[in-house]
Amino acid sequence: MNLRRDVFQAIADPTRRAILILVASQSMTAGAIASNFETARPTVSKHLQILTECELLQQQQNGREVYYQINAKKMKEVSDFIEPFRNMWDDRFNKLEVIMKNYKPEF
């Protein structure tokens, strides 16, 4: 559960979300990612470290450069968090619909 909680904390930060959006289209080096932000380079590195630790990002060695890419599987897991919540409401609304379809007003 700890790791999962970390994932949620990771995506709660706006800079980290921006990084994920940036890297979603193409893998990038830390330098290329940092050049998109006004934040100091070490701060961006820290964000990259957190995103890598909770496996939302993956590192890929390419010669001397390290590229960051999105971990699609982990990102899907994050959206899976919502699924039980959606199911709960879907079940309730399905029930509501059945009950009201059989509703006969009392006279």
């Binding site: 559960m1 949620f8 995506i11 709660a12 930060d13 706006p14 979300r17 968090f81 919502i82 699924e83 039980p84 919540f85 959606r86 199911n87 709960m88 409401w89 879907d90 309730r92 609304f93 399905n94 029930k95 509501l96 619909e97 009950i99 009201m100 379809k101 509703y103």
Partner: protein
């Protein structure tokens, strides 16, 4: 099966928007929210109080099969417009979770279909995420309890 209920929870936001289209006329959909007996049926909870008027309030209570109260929630209704709108607060009693604000909007689509939009606003982004994960965590607990039962039988 077709997914009729949609949940929008943009990350970093303090709100959740739940939308659902019903094969029901608007009036029947709205009735399901105001008749205590009907609310009790589809919410799976006892309705202790439900005052459907501006400045009214409500209280729900859920018990386990043994009759112990496991959940109690209450709220006030700052806005109530029949077949159109219910604005209400929602608070789970005896929990550390801050009260949330719910905007329910009822719309007619056709003579036989309608749409509900439920916007829930939380005190913080963290609380929003926590509430979003609650059914997930409960599901884990239930799975764990079932596993425990099976293991106990093996002993």
């Amino acid at each position: 099966m077709e997914r009729k209920t949609k949940v929008d929870a943009e990350s970093g936001k303090q709100e959740i928007v739940i939308t659902r289209e019903f094969d029901l006329p608007l009036e029947l959909l709205f009735k399901a929210y105001v008749e205590p007996d009907i609310v009790a049926q589809w919410m799976g909870t006892k309705v202790l109080k439900l005052e459907n008027w501006k400045h009214g309030s409500y209280q729900f209570e859920t018990s386990d099969p043994k009759g112990n109260v496991v959940f109690r929630a209450n709220g006030t209704i700052p806005e109530f417009i029949p077949n159109q709108k219910i604005t209400r607060t929602f608070e789970m009693e005896n929990t550390p979770f801050a009260v949330q604000l719910e905007f329910l909007e009822f719309e007619k689509l056709t003579d036989h279909s309608s749409k509900l939009t439920m916007q829930i606003i939380y005190k913080s982004v963290e609380l929003r995420d926590q509430m979003l994960k609650l059914p997930f965590a409960q599901g884990l607990n239930m799975a764990h309890n079932r596993l425990q039962e099976v293991v106990n039988k093996l002993k």
